[in-house]
């Protein structure tokens, strides 16, 4: 009996404890152990297979999560990385969406990319005030940018279609596949998202990431460590906007239309919530945050729908109460966000069944 339990425990710890890294090179790699590489491969294959497994609605939600994770990840580079707060991410998503709505069909990837690049350029412009303003003032400056962007979206009818917005032609196809099909959009989004997730992860663990963290933790000291403050802040803003813009391009293809309502302040707040709830610190945080922020309201809606029409109204109001309270609870009880929670759970299982 004793031997059995020992065997089990050993097997368990072999599985869950990352084996000792033997040299620095392993330490620097993405997934340092064979197990790590294996699970990474499984995860990617799993994600690629999702459209084949999921019915349309869950796939739609999954694509929404993907988009939110991208935009949230961008914001995460800025907020969690460089420590610059922004309430204007939705505006960048909007820029990306509007730009890509002009280049669709077979050129869709190009359009999405162009949206990202235009957003990045605007991001640099928005980054300029950050060289002089900090903290709350910066938050309000980005809020102002958000509202001005809304004004432009509604007013620049020639480019944005004004309040009526723009619609993706129903018959648009990409390489012969209909863009109205969410599966096509999902793969299109994935083609951008996967490299961008790895790029962000890599970036945060190399020179740019170190410079950002340094600016975040102590900008005086960062200067005296040779960090170029101007460059660091501006690249953070540009990249953050780029990620937002790409997310916007995918969103535009998912919904099939762009209207200003998709890029209002509430969404900027939602992206910020993704960063906070996910836990500023890692790329995984942005993904977990997006999963949480998108999925929780969906599940609450599903439940409300199932309870019957007489409860929907009340449950909808409760949903926004629950959303707010959840955020508050996270901030008060688990400041490190979902990543912190995840880390705790993982540590628990790693040491299970022998906690010491």
């Amino acid at each position: 009996m004793y031997r059995l339990s020992q065997t089990l425990t050993d097997a368990f710890s072999r599985r869950f404890s990352r084996t000792v890294r033997e040299d620095y090179r392993q330490d620097e790699a993405y997934a340092s152990t064979p197990q790590g590489r294996f699970w990474l491969a499984v995860a990617i294959v799993g994600v690629l297979a999702l459209p084949l497994l999921l019915p349309p609605y869950p796939l739609f939600v999954t694509t929404q999560i993907l988009i939110a994770a991208l935009a949230g990840l961008g914001l995460h580079l800025l907020v969690g990385g460089a420590g610059q707060i922004s309430l204007g991410q939705a505006a960048f998503v909007g820029v990306g969406a509007y730009v890509s709505s002009h280049l669709t069909g077979d050129l869709a990837p190009l359009g999405i990319l162009a949206g990202g690049l235009v957003a990045a350029l605007i991001g640099i412009v928005l980054g300029i005030p950050s060289l002089r303003i900090k903290g709350v003032y910066l938050a309000i400056a980005t809020l102002a940018f958000q509202l001005l962007a809304d004004y432009v979206f509604k007013r620049w009818t020639g480019f944005t279609g004004g309040v009526a917005g723009r619609t993706l032609p129903a018959e648009a196809t990409f390489l012969g596949l209909p863009l109205a099909d969410d599966r096509v959009v999902f793969y299109l989004g994935l083609a951008f998202a996967i490299p961008m997730f790895f790029y962000a992860k890599r970036l945060l663990s190399t020179r740019a990431g170190r410079a950002w963290f340094a600016v975040r933790d102590n900008d005086l000291s960062a200067q005296l460590s040779g960090v170029d403050l101007v460059r660091s802040k501006l690249t953070a803003f540009a990249l953050s906007a780029f990620y937002g813009g790409i997310a916007g391009g995918i969103l535009m293809h998912l919904i099939g239309a762009v209207t200003p309502e998709n890029f209002v302040l509430a969404f900027s707040i939602q992206y910020l919530a993704i960063v906070i709830v996910g836990g500023a610190g890692t790329v995984l945080g942005a993904v977990l945050g997006a999963l949480f922020i998108v999925l929780i309201p969906e599940i609450l809606s599903v439940m409300a729908g199932a309870f019957g029409p007489q409860y929907v109204a009340q449950l909808s109001a409760w949903r926004s109460v629950a959303f707010g309270v959840l955020i508050l609870l996270f901030l008060i009880l688990e400041p490190r966000g979902l990543v912190g929670l995840w880390g705790r759970i993982r540590d628990y299982f790693r040491t299970w069944p022998l906690p010491y």
Binding site: L53, L54, P55, P56, Y57, P58, F60, V61, Q64, K154, G162, V163, A164, G165, T167, L168, A170, A180, L251, I255, G256, A257, T259, E261, N262, A266, P297, E298, I299, S301, V302, M303, A304, G305, A306, F307, G308, P309, Q310, Y311, V312, A313, Q314, L315, S316, A317, R319, S320
Partner: protein, 397 residues
């Protein structure tokens, strides 16, 4: 909020089924489903909730009378929060969850939502209507399954212009005040065009946000331009009372006019005496108009169910009418043995003289809309709107 165990179980199952492709098998006779995506939270929550109540009461009445040929009419409701992305997600959820044999009609939210959904709706051949009276939706060539249960904003504006022609004739001076929103801007080009043709003069134009803090700048312009008529479009009684009050305070005598979303008693509550004489378009019956048989039906139902008998809003009346008419079409489709999506479209198109208990003139569609409306004048002393015309065809200009 009380829920019985079955409901809780159902909710749990539904929640767990979000990511499961298999639906729960249903044993009994299949219900007919009518889905509504309404703004139950957010800026239009007042309209969404009232509308939901209308749907619920209408559904109760239909089911009390035996449903649709023995099949239960079931409501499926989702909150849109007046937000396109959320509404789109809700739509996808509904379409995914419900089987095409059961779900035969979807009632949606704003113009933006409707436009985002339109291609999918068309692909699914799914009968659809919405709270939006946007001109763009009433186009069966592009959107063969979308119906607008009432006049479009253009039709409403047309009816108002006809009234102006009647009251003042050529040379009437009109001031336009509208919100910087989809439905605020919708009929403006039409109004400008027709006003020119009718010899009216647009003396001023003001675009505002959906909510404003102060109406005096607008009223100042009214004083400068001295219009005979002020048309307000695209508000939900957030701005009209402010403008009317300020205008009357400053002695402006112009006649104020509004469309469907202004035609609510709250206008008088909020604006007080200043609202007197405000002319609106409204194409259903008011709850206090007991001469209309639909109102009798509603009151009887609410009395029987022990529900509050006090005033119900126009949004309530509107959704009641929609479901009443759709149910009639369902009955006819059922009678023809074709209670399917295409069958329902056909039945809807052929409703003909059905008038939903007097809540509509008839169901003779013109481009999938009902261009008839009535004009009403606010009577503050009695606290109601008095009809000043019979049915007016807003498209005849």
């Amino acid at each position: 909020m009380k829920m019985n165990r079955r409901q809780v179980l159902k909710a749990g199952l539904a929640a767990s089924a979000v990511y499961s492709p298999w639906m729960i098998a249903r044993a009994q006779a299949r219900p007919v489903k009518f889905a509504a995506i309404l703004p139950l939270t957010g800026a239009f929550a007042f309209a969404g909730n009232a509308g939901l109540e209308g749907f619920r009461d209408a559904a109760d009445r239909i089911n009390d009378a035996g449903g649709i040929g023995g099949r239960r009419l079931e409501l499926v409701v989702e909150d849109s929060g007046y937000d396109v992305a959320r509404a789109t997600a809700a739509f996808n959820r509904i379409v995914q969850r419900e089987s095409p044999e059961e779900l035969v009609f979807v009632y949606g939210d704003s113009t933006g939502t409707s436009k985002a959904l339109a291609p999918e709706i068309t692909r699914l051949r799914l009968p659809y209507s919405a709270t939006s009276f946007s001109n763009e939706l009433a186009d069966p060539n592009t959107y063969p399954t979308i119906f607008v249960f009432g006049p479009t904003y253009n039709d409403m504006a047309g009816a108002l212009l006809q009234q102006i022609r009647l009251q003042r004739g050529r040379g009437a001076k009109i001031f336009l005040c509208y919100s910087n929103s989809e439905f605020g801007r919708d009929p403006i080009p039409f109004i400008k065009d027709r006003a020119g043709k009718l010899g009216f003069q647009i003396v001023g134009e003001e675009v505002t946000p959906l909510a404003i803090a102060d109406a005096t700048p607008i009223v100042t312009k009214l004083r400068q331009t001295q219009p005979d008529f002020v048309i307000m479009q695209g508000y939900v009684l957030t701005v009209e009372p402010l403008v009317v009050r300020a205008a009357r305070e400053q002695g402006i005598r112009a006649t104020f006019m509004g469309t469907y979303y202004s035609a609510e008693l709250a206008l008088m509550q909020r604006a007080g005496a200043a609202a007197d004489g405000f002319i609106v378009t409204y194409h259903n019956a008011y709850y206090y108009d007991t001469t209309v048989s639909a109102v009798e039906q509603i009151r009887a139902l609410r009395r029987a169910k022990g529900r509050d008998l006090s005033y119900r809003t126009t949004y309530y009346m509107g959704t009641w009418m929609v479901l009443d008419a759709v149910a009639e079409a369902m009955r006819r489709a059922h009678a023809a043995g074709r209670l399917t999506r295409p069958g329902l479209i056909e039945a809807l198109e052929n409703l003909g003289d059905y008038n939903a208990g007097g809540q509509a003139r008839n169901m003779r569609w013109v481009n999938h809309r009902l261009p008839f409306t009535k004009l009403w004048r606010a009577n503050v002393r009695d606290g109601r709107f008095d009809a000043i015309t019979d049915w007016v065809d807003g498209s005849k200009l």
